[in-house]
């Protein structure tokens, strides 16, 4: 501690350089701590459970060529064919592909003829095999039966008899109640739809939708020009099955255009923006730490060279090598401490604007403290080698050049 006074006066002589390093560290802390909260938030989003066996599913989209195509007949023949294929566990038909960014939604109520206070939910028209094909976990009630299936024309308004919904959606409609057997109203309709089953979770069509996870499934097939099938394969057999699908379906009926894509690719495409943010920000944070560390190394070496004579004199007057190294490391810590203090304030201010203007997550004290420690560590590591080198300056240097 005796060294503190001469150290401060030495720093004062080099105040601009010291300030520049402190400023760099402050900005680095402000940037990195904000990056960390954003990246953490995105990773949490990407890693949310989907409730789906994503890696084992292939999505098929096909569009019929003739205008007067018998879609309902085609669907039952196709599903039968798909389920018979080797390595295929199950197959289903749906109006939308999960996590594809394209789908259908509606507003649902717990009372008939309501106009306000509804809950938005993603809606599927599908059939009894959907739950098994996607690997959903039915936690209460039962699945659809074939007898409950509704087939209807695109222009027909068909009332649904029953629905299976996700637990999250059930909790929003009927908090802390058993939803099984309770009614659900589609829009301002007066027709009750009975909730017959609850699945543990299903993320739905859109990953960035505020209501993602609210999903209702209806036993229905609409007679439109195009349809989606989902095919669940045995583990590891997906790519093998994928190669045969278009051919098999075209063989059965060539009058259509068929496209296939694995579900994991839909998922990757849905998270493209979040993934981009994670990667770009991580690279920026890494480069930033590296550049700042290089700057500290460069400046510390310069200072030591400048003060080679003083170091020599101190060594000649009895200072040990450890004294010299400690001096430079302590000096570095003083600068870093100043930088981190300014940086913490700057981080919180920057985060305030990030939250207010760009709807990013807020920065709490724990990640800020961790980032501060990290910046301190980078600064200390950068100063370590030059400080040890300083200790190797021989006392003779001092005597020789005077």
């Amino acid at each position: 501690m005796l060294e503190l006074k001469p150290m401060l006066s030495a720093l004062w002589r080099n105040k601009i350089s010291a300030l520049l390093i402190a400023l760099q560290l402050a900005l680095t802390l402000a940037i990195i701590s904000n990056i960390v909260v954003i990246v953490q938030d995105r990773i949490e989003k990407i890693e949310r459970p989907t409730g789906i066996a994503v890696e084992e599913i292939i999505a098929i989209n096909f569009m019929a060529i003739p205008q007067d195509y018998d879609m309902i007949g085609a669907v039952s023949a196709d599903l039968e064919l798909l389920r018979e294929l080797p390595h295929v566990k199950d197959a289903t038909v749906t109006n939308q592909v999960p996590i594809s960014g394209s789908g259908s939604a509606g507003t649902f109520y717990t009372q008939p003829n309501q106009e306000i206070g509804g809950t938005n939910s993603n809606r599927y028209n599908t059939e009894p095999h959907f739950i098994d094909t996607l690997g959903l976990n039915l936690v209460a009630g039962r699945n659809f039966t074939d007898a409950e299936m509704q087939f209807f024309d695109p222009n027909e308004l068909k009332e649904m008899p029953v629905a299976v919904i996700t637990r999250q959606f059930a909790e929003k409609l009927y908090p802390n109640q058993d939803p099984i057997g309770k009614p659900l109203y589609d829009g301002n309709s007066s027709h009750p739809i009975e909730i017959i089953g609850v699945v543990e979770r299903h993320l739905g069509a859109w990953v960035s939708w505020p209501n993602a996870g609210n999903v209702a499934f209806f036993p229905a097939v609409r007679n439109t020009q195009d349809k989606n099938y989902l095919v669940r394969t045995e583990p590891g057999m997906r790519d093998k099955v994928l190669k045969t699908l278009v051919e098999k379906l075209s063989e059965r009926d060539p009058q259509r255009v068929i496209k296939t894509r694995v579900l994991s690719e839909y998922v990757a495409r849905s998270y493209v923006r979040d993934n981009l943010m994670v990667k770009v920000l991580t690279i920026v944070a890494a480069m930033l730490s590296f550049i700042v560390a290089l700057g500290i190394v460069g400046l510390t070496i310069f200072w030591i060279n400048q003060r080679a004579k003083q170091i020599g004199v101190r060594r000649a007057l009895g200072a040990t090598r450890a004294n010299i190294s400690r001096y430079f490391l302590l000096e570095n810590s003083l600068i870093a401490g100043t930088g981190i203090t300014i940086g913490s304030a700057a981080a919180l201010i920057a985060n305030h604007y990030m939250v207010r203007d760009y709807s990013q997550p807020s920065l709490t004290l724990v990640p800020l403290a961790i980032c501060a420690l990290l910046v301190l560590l980078v600064s200390f590591t950068a100063a370590l080698t030059p400080a040890i080198r300083a200790a190797n300056i021989s006392p003779a240097t001092a005597t020789r050049s005077v």
């Binding site: 520049l20 695109p154 222009n155 439109t224 020009q225 930033l288 550049i291 700057g295 310069f302």
Partner: protein
């Protein structure tokens, strides 16, 4: 003198390769990272309709639910109902007007080896091409009646014409769409506005459509939009006619109004139309509509997202750190050479000469850093294109504007960085250094 300073600068850079390398690296990485992000944001912010920005307007009418505003930045539905679009089409005030939406067809060509495929389609009124300045190679748009009665005409994109007819003049030939024969009336040239300002609901970075068909076929083909269809109330009647008369919004609408007088006239027309509908029990919300220029439309639709802006700020802050880093290193480097400057001062060099000499040295670092920075930015853009999985391929390329901007940014950054160190060295007292020599 300048030539002499430049040679001094280069010699000085060579004499301290590590320190110079560090500084060039700092500037290059800073410029590279910020130019990667700025290029991305710059291309995303482009307005392909800039030359008609004063005369084109996207039309929005607030026909939404009385209990709840529409989910849009200006709380007016992005699109119109079919019946409102039909009513607006009857006005003869706009110079041109377009009602349109996205659709898709399966395409077949008789006596051809081409396998049937699905093609993205725009169902639109005939003014689409003239309003958005779409150039034709062959033929032109369809007749006016085609927008009101079913006429099976089609305009092909250049790539579709290349695929189906090997780029030959195909006007008058037939293709089969969803099993029905259509006659080609025109072929447009390559036309790819990015972002796709005329249709921002369906991915602003998607390619423009392969086929364009007239607006008069909804009832015949029972067309449902392949874009967004949003509704707030059930009902509207039975069957497809019920859908057409319903409150669902799914038609995009643009008008061309050549001057303010025409615009005022059109605003009066819209006000009168909404009031007329109010009298019949529709448009229950307060009277509201919007006419947005293409530039305003891009902002309303938040094409440049919050994430893009965050990346922009982060990269600029990163560049700032790199500049501060370079200031510190330059200061170290110049002060080490202080004896040299002392000798030059003693031999008669003025303070400003020393200052300029060192500033030129900083500029040299900036230019080298800028060139390396362009290479880093190109790699960065390549990386982002890869991460974006082909979703922004129409966008992220570096044009000459951005290249010049990169060098400019590097030069400004290095001059800013060099300013204080150069000033500091020009102020040093020569006698101190002469004494120690």
């Amino acid at each position: 003198m300048i030539g002499y300073y430049i040679s001094l600068a280069l010699r000085s850079l060579r004499s301290t390769p590590i320190l110079s390398g560090l500084m060039i690296a700092a500037i290059a990485v800073g410029v590279g990272a910020s130019m990667t992000v700025l290029t991305l944001n710059y291309t995303i912010s482009q307005n392909a309709l800039e030359h008609k920005d004063d005369v084109l307007f996207a039309v929005q009418l607030d026909s939404w639910d009385i209990n709840e505003a529409a989910d849009a930045t200006n709380e007016i539905p992005w699109q119109l109902t079919y019946r409102d679009a039909q009513a607006l089409l009857r006005s003869d005030i706009p110079t041109r007007q377009v009602a349109m939406h996205r659709f898709g067809f399966t395409v077949e060509l008789e006596n051809s080896s081409i396998r049937p495929y699905t093609a993205s389609t725009r169902v639109t009124t005939r003014d689409f091409f003239s309003l958005f300045d779409v150039p034709f190679i062959y033929g032109g748009t369809w007749e006016n009646e085609a927008d009101f009665s079913p006429t099976q005409d089609v305009v092909l994109s250049k790539s579709t014409n290349d695929k189906l007819f090997s780029g030959e003049n195909s006007v008058g030939k037939n293709i089969t769409l969803n099993g029905e024969p259509y006659t080609v009336v025109g072929v447009i040239d390559h036309w790819e506005p990015a972002p796709k300002v005329y249709d921002l609901n369906n991915s602003p970075f998607a390619s423009s459509e392969n086929l364009f068909i007239p607006f008069g076929q909804h009832r015949k083909l029972e067309i449902y939009s392949w874009g967004n269809t949003n509704g707030w109330t059930t009902g509207g009647g039975e069957g497809y006619e019920g859908f057409l008369q319903s409150e669902s919004v799914w038609v995009q609408y643009w008008v061309e109004l050549s001057n303010n007088e025409q615009k005022a006239q059109y605003e009066n027309f819209l006000t009168a139309y909404i009031n007329g509908e109010k009298a019949q029990g529709r448009f229950e919300r307060p009277l509201k509509f919007a006419l947005s220029k293409p530039s305003e439309w891009l902002v309303l639709n938040e094409v440049l997202s919050d994430d893009n802006r965050v990346l922009g700020w982060v990269s600029l802050a990163f560049l700032l750190v790199c500049v501060i880093n370079a200031v510190a290193l330059l200061l170290a480097k110049f002060l080490r050479k202080a004896p040299e400057a002392g000798v030059r001062r003693a031999l008669g060099a003025s303070r400003s000469a020393i200052f300029i000499q060192h500033l030129i040295e900083s500029a040299a670092i900036g230019i080298i850093g800028g060139v390396v920075g362009i290479l880093i930015a190109m790699m960065g853009i390549g990386g982002i294109r890869y991460l974006a999985m082909g979703q922004i391929d129409t966008l992220a390329t570096m044009d000459w504007v951005m290249m010049v901007a990169s060098i400019g940014l590097a030069l400004i950054a290095s001059l800013l960085a060099g300013f204080y160190p150069a000033w500091r060295i020009s102020r040093t007292n020569p006698s101190i250094y002469l004494k120690t020599q």
